[in-house]
Amino acid sequence: MLSYIARRVTLAIIVILTVIAAMFVMMHAVPGDAVRTALGPRASEAMVEAYRARLGLDQPVWVQILRYFGAILRGDLGQDAISGTPVLQVILSQLPDTLYLIAGAMLVAVIPGIHLGVVSATHRGSLFDRVTSVLSVSVMAVPSFVIAIYLLLIFSIRLGWFPAIGSGDGLADKLHRLVLPSIALGLAWIGYLARILRASMLEVMAENHVRTARAFGISQRRIMYDYVLRIAILPTITVLGMGIGQMISGAVFAEIVFGRPGVGKLVYDAIANRNYPIVTGTVLLTTGFFVLVSLLADLLIAFLDPRVRNVISR
C-alpha cells in the first residue's frame, strides 16, 4: 500500500513538472508578452527591455524553467506580470467564486444523480429507467456553454428571474447568482452520475453475497441503500474527482457567459494578455488539484476495496 502511494505521488509530481516545463517551452515560442500591456503604449523600447529583464523573460527558456521550479519549492509562484501582485494572492482572490460555482454544480449533479441512479438500478428495464437513461444521455451530450447561453437568454434576459452578471455580495445574493451557472455546469453530471451509479450498482447486485442476503430475506431497500450503494458509490467518487478537472474547463465558459469573476475567467484573460505568471500559476494549481483529487479518490477506493486496487495498480 505504502509503495503504491509513493509511486502515485511520484508520478503525480512528475506529471506536474512535465506540464510546467511544456508550458514554458510553448509560451516561449509564442510571440508577444505582457510587458507592453504592463507598461502601456507610451513605454520606450528601453523600458520594455528593462522590464523584461526584471521579469527574467530575457533568459533562455531552460533557465526560466529551472528558476521557476526553484521558486515553487520556496512556495513562490511569482508576480502578476501586469500589476506586480503576487500570483498566489491573485489566484486566491479568484478561487472562492470558482469553488462556489463548482460546489453548486456538484450539488446540482450529485443529489438527483444518485437518486436517479439508484432508482434506475432497482427498477432496471422499467419505463423510468428508460426515460432516465435517455435524459441522462441527452444532458451529457449538449455542451455546457450552449446550456449556459440558453439559460441566460431564457431566465435572465427574457424572464428576468435571475441576475445576469457578477457573483454578488452577501449569502442570499451570492446564492441567487449561483443558480444558473451551477445548473449549466452541473446538468451534464446528473446524467453522468446516474449512469455510472446504475452500472456499478447492477454489478454489485449481481454478486453472490447480495443474492445471499436477498435469500435471507433482508429487505430490498436496506440491501440497496445500506449495502449496494455503499460499494457502488466508489467508482462514482473517482469520476467526481476527475470531473472537478473538467468542471474547471466548464467554469471558463460559465464565467464568461455569466460575467462572473473566477479562476476560469482569470486564466482566459491571462492567456489573452500573455500574463504568463498567472497562466503557469493557475495551471500549476489546477493541475495539482486535479492530480491530488484523482490520487485521493484512487487511494480511497484502494483503501476501501482491495479488489479495485489490483485493477488500478495493474
Binding site: L11, I14, V15, I16, T18, V19, A22, M23, M26, M27, A29, V30, S133, V134, V137, S138, M140, A141, V142, P143, F145, V146, I149, Y150, L153, I157, R158, R195, I196, A199, S200, L202, E203, A206, L234, P235, T238, M242, G245, Q246, I248, S249, V252, F253, I256, V257, V267, Y268, I271, V283, T286, T287, F290, V291, S294, D298, I301, V308, V311, I312
Partner: protein, 291 residues
C-alpha cells in the same frame, strides 16, 4: 482510468440479426439515426440553401424568422438558415475528420505502447497523463495561442484531447492480447509484427474503439463550437455553428434568433451521435457499458 471498475451488467443476449434492423428496432437508435440524417442532410443540401451564406445585407439585420429567412438574419443581414446548413458541413467535416485522426493517432500510440519496450510505454503513459491533467480549455487556449486560430488548430486540439483516451484503450487491449495464446502461437510460428497487428490486434480492438469514437463526436462538435465561441475556431466569414453562437451572444440583446440558430444544430447533432452511439453499444458491445 475509466476502466477502474469495468461494470458488466448482465447482458441481454440477443439473437444475431441484421445490424441495421437491430439498430432501427431500438427507439434510441432510430432517434439517433433520424437526427444524424437531419444533420447530414443539411450538410448535403447546403448548396441548395436559399441564400449565399456569406452574402451581406446590413440593411436586413436582426430579422426574425419569416417565410423568406426561415431562421431570421444575423447582425450583418446574412440568412441564418443558409449559414446553419453550411455550418453542418463544417461541423461534420471537423468532427468526423478530427475523430478519425485522433483514432488513428491513438491506435498507433496504443499499439506502440503495448508492444514497445517498457520505458517507452511508461513515457507515453506519462505524457498522456500530463495531457489529461490539464483542463481541456486551458490546453486548447494555450495551443491556439501558439498556432493561431484556424480549422487545423481545432483538429489538433481534438487529437490532443481525445487521442490519449483511444491510445489507452488500444494499449489495454494490446496488453491483454499480447499474451493471449493464439498470438503466442503465431509468434512461435515466426509471424512478424505487422502481421500480428493487422490480422489479430486491429480486428479485435477496432470495433469497440469505433463505437467510442461515435460517442465522442458530440464532444468534438462541442470543442469546435466552444473554440469558435472563444474566437479561436474557424476564420470568419466561415459559417461555423460556434461562430454563429458567438455572434449571437454578442448581439443577444438585439436578437435572440442568432443564438437559437447557432445552438440548436449543436444540440441536434450532439444528441444524434450520442443516441446512435448508445444504441450501437447496446447492440454490439454490451460490455462497454460505461465510459
Amino acid at each position: 482510468m475509466s476502466s477502474a471498475a469495468e461494470p458488466s451488467p448482465p447482458s441481454r443476449r440477443r439473437r444475431p440479426q441484421g445490424a441495421l434492423s437491430r439498430l432501427v428496432s431500438d427507439p434510441l437508435g432510430l432517434a439517433g439515426l433520424a437526427l444524424i440524417v437531419l444533420t447530414v442532410g443539411a450538410a448535403l443540401l447546403a448548396d441548395f440553401a436559399p441564400f449565399e451564406p456569406s452574402k451581406l445585407s446590413p440593411a436586413n439585420r436582426f430579422m426574425a424568422p419569416s417565410g423568406l429567412h426561415w431562421l431570421g438574419t444575423d447582425n450583418l443581414g446574412r440568412d441564418l438558415f443558409s449559414r446553419v446548413l453550411h455550418g453542418a458541413r463544417i461541423a461534420l467535416a471537423i468532427s468526423i475528420g478530427a475523430t478519425a485522426l485522433s483514432l488513428a493517432v491513438g491506435l498507433v500510440l496504443g499499439i506502440v505502447a503495448g508492444f514497445g519496450p517498457r520505458w517507452l510505454d511508461s513515457l507515453l503513459l506519462l505524457v498522456m497523463d500530463a495531457m489529461n491533467s490539464i483542463p481541456t480549455v486551458m490546453l486548447a487556449l494555450l495551443l491556439i495561442t501558439y498556432t493561431g486560430p484556424s480549422l487545423w488548430a481545432v483538429v489538433l486540439v481534438v487529437v490532443l484531447v481525445n487521442g490519449p483516451g483511444y491510445a489507452r484503450i488500444a494499449r489495454t487491449h494490446v496488453l491483454a492480447l499480447r499474451s493471449a495464446e493464439f498470438i503466442e502461437a503465431e509468434r512461435a510460428l515466426g509471424a512478424r509484427f505487422p502481421r500480428i497487428v493487422f490480422f489479430h490486434i486491429l480486428p479485435n480492438i477496432l470495433g469497440p474503439l469505433l463505437i467510442l469514437a461515435a460517442m465522442d463526436i458530440p464532444i468534438v462538435v462541442g470543442i469546435e463550437a466552444g473554440l469558435s465561441f472563444l474566437g479561436m475556431g474557424v476564420r470568419p466569414p466561415t459559417p461555423s455553428w460556434g461562430t454563429i453562437l458567438f455572434d449571437g451572444f454578442s448581439y443577444i440583446r438585439d436578437s435572440v434568433w442568432m443564438v437559437v440558430a447557432g445552438g440548436l444544430p449543436i444540440v441536434v447533432t450532439a444528441l444524434g451521435f450520442t443516441f446512435l452511439g448508445e444504441a450501437l453499444r447496446d447492440t454490439f458491445d454490451p460490455k462497454l457499458a460505461k465510459r
